[in-house]
């Protein structure tokens, strides 16, 4: 009973309490770069979940065999191998999405969430707990990307996940799209304001 609670805790903490983006300020580059639409954010999130889980399971199984001095290098190589696999799968199954994400998929190699979790959690815990931790952190990251992507997509084109919510002026409605939201400044400003709002709420509770 105790272990299943522990596993649940490992899963749930990544979603909010230790959310990688909002709470730990990790992996800012992909968060800002790929969230021009909600779908792009979602795809990126799933790619990270995939790499996190697979490298987490492998590293956790071999954790007693990896020499302490070269652990970071070993982790990086394992992560790079899984990122290559993810990139090839994505390019084979969803070519337009793979093109849109461009070099940000290979950049998962240096994503601080992955190396950070491997160093801080996976390398010290058994496979089952590492799996739950990886899943939780990955889902927390995906959730963040989808939130940010939805806000930016809504304000830049009036749609979320491609479904039109606000009718734009071009289609005879009232909403005038905010061009800035697709551009880099929109990403910085949206995330900054979101962080501020989250800080306000978490300080009160």
């Amino acid at each position: 009973m105790k272990t299943s609670w522990q596993l649940y805790g490992d899963l749930i903490k990544g979603l909010w309490r230790e959310n990688p983006v909002f709470r730990q300020l990790l992996a800012m580059c992909p968060t800002l770069a790929v969230t021009t639409t909600a779908l792009q954010g979602f795809t990126m999130g799933i790619a990270v979940v995939f790499v996190l889980i697979l490298s987490g399971v492998v590293i956790s199984s071999f954790r007693k065999l990896i020499p302490h001095q070269v652990r970071i290098a070993t982790f990086t190589i394992i992560i790079a191998a899984f990122v290559t696999i993810t990139d090839l799968i994505l390019a084979a199954t969803f070519p337009p999405m793979s093109k849109a994400l461009g070099p940000y998929v290979p950049l998962i190699v240096v994503n601080c969430i992955i190396l950070g979790r491997m160093e801080a959690f996976t390398s010290k815990h058994p496979v089952s707990r590492s799996f739950m931790d990886a899943l939780g952190m990955g889902l927390g990251f995906t959730l963040t990307l989808v939130i940010l992507g939805s806000i930016r997509e809504l304000l830049s084109s009036g749609a979320v996940f491609g479904y039109q919510i606000l009718t734009t002026q071009a289609a005879g409605g009232w909403f005038r799209p905010w061009v800035i939201m697709i551009l880099p400044p929109g990403a910085f400003i949206t995330l900054g304001i979101l962080l501020g709002i989250i800080n306000t709420f978490s300080r009160k509770s």
Partner: protein, 192 residues
């Protein structure tokens, strides 16, 4: 002329931090003080220039020649990690005071996504050897430039009266957004 365009494009028009969002971690972490921002910028420029050249050699002369370009990511990260290690040992032997100044920043560069991003972009655009070197140097200069501007702004921000919830990362991101907006003005410098 072509090289000059690549340099300007990498430095201000397509600045790595403000348009590609690469290197945000040191951008948020190290820009608290002007001096450390400068140290980080110089160290990164150095590594970026070398990475531009060496990854070109590795990709063209090893990976493509032996028909294994899919090993690109693994090879690049190894090149970068060992490069940083070599530079660290070299600086420690030759210039101890510089080593103390850069100290903690050097190992951090390995996980700076701007470096890997640079290698990937240079490969993606089919740059030649000299072009890759210039691209790396330009990207490094642009990175240092933005780090210095941001550090200067943040030193002033410390004195400003900011709502408690927005202190720290939140206000830094919003400031970066305004800075990115200003940098978009440079896009008129070149076309394409």
């Amino acid at each position: 002329m072509n090289l000059l365009l690549i340099f300007i494009s990498a430095t201000v028009v397509n600045n790595f931090v403000l348009t590609y969002f690469l290197g945000i971690c040191p951008f948020l972490g190290v820009t608290g003080r002007l001096k450390s921002a400068f140290g980080m910028g110089i160290a990164t420029t150095f590594v970026m220039t070398l990475t531009g050249g060496i990854t070109w050699i590795v990709y063209r002369l090893i990976l493509v020649r032996f028909g294994v370009p899919f090993l690109e990511y693994v090879a690049y990260i190894l090149v970068i990690a060992s490069l940083v290690q070599i530079i660290e040992m070299f600086i420690r032997k030759t210039n101890p005071s510089l080593y103390r100044a850069l100290g903690i920043y050097l190992p951090l560069i390995t996980t700076n996504c701007a470096i890997l991003g640079l290698a990937l972009f240079a490969t993606l655009r089919n740059y030649g050897f000299l072009q890759s070197l210039v691209y790396g140097f330009g990207a490094g200069v642009g990175f240092t430039f933005v780090m210095l501007i941001m550090a200067g702004i943040r030193e002033e921000l410390d004195l400003a009266d900011i709502p408690k919830s927005f202190q720290g990362a939140a206000i830094t991101l919003i400031t970066a957004g305004l800075l990115a907006l200003a940098f978009m003005g440079f896009s008129g410098l070149i076309y394409a």
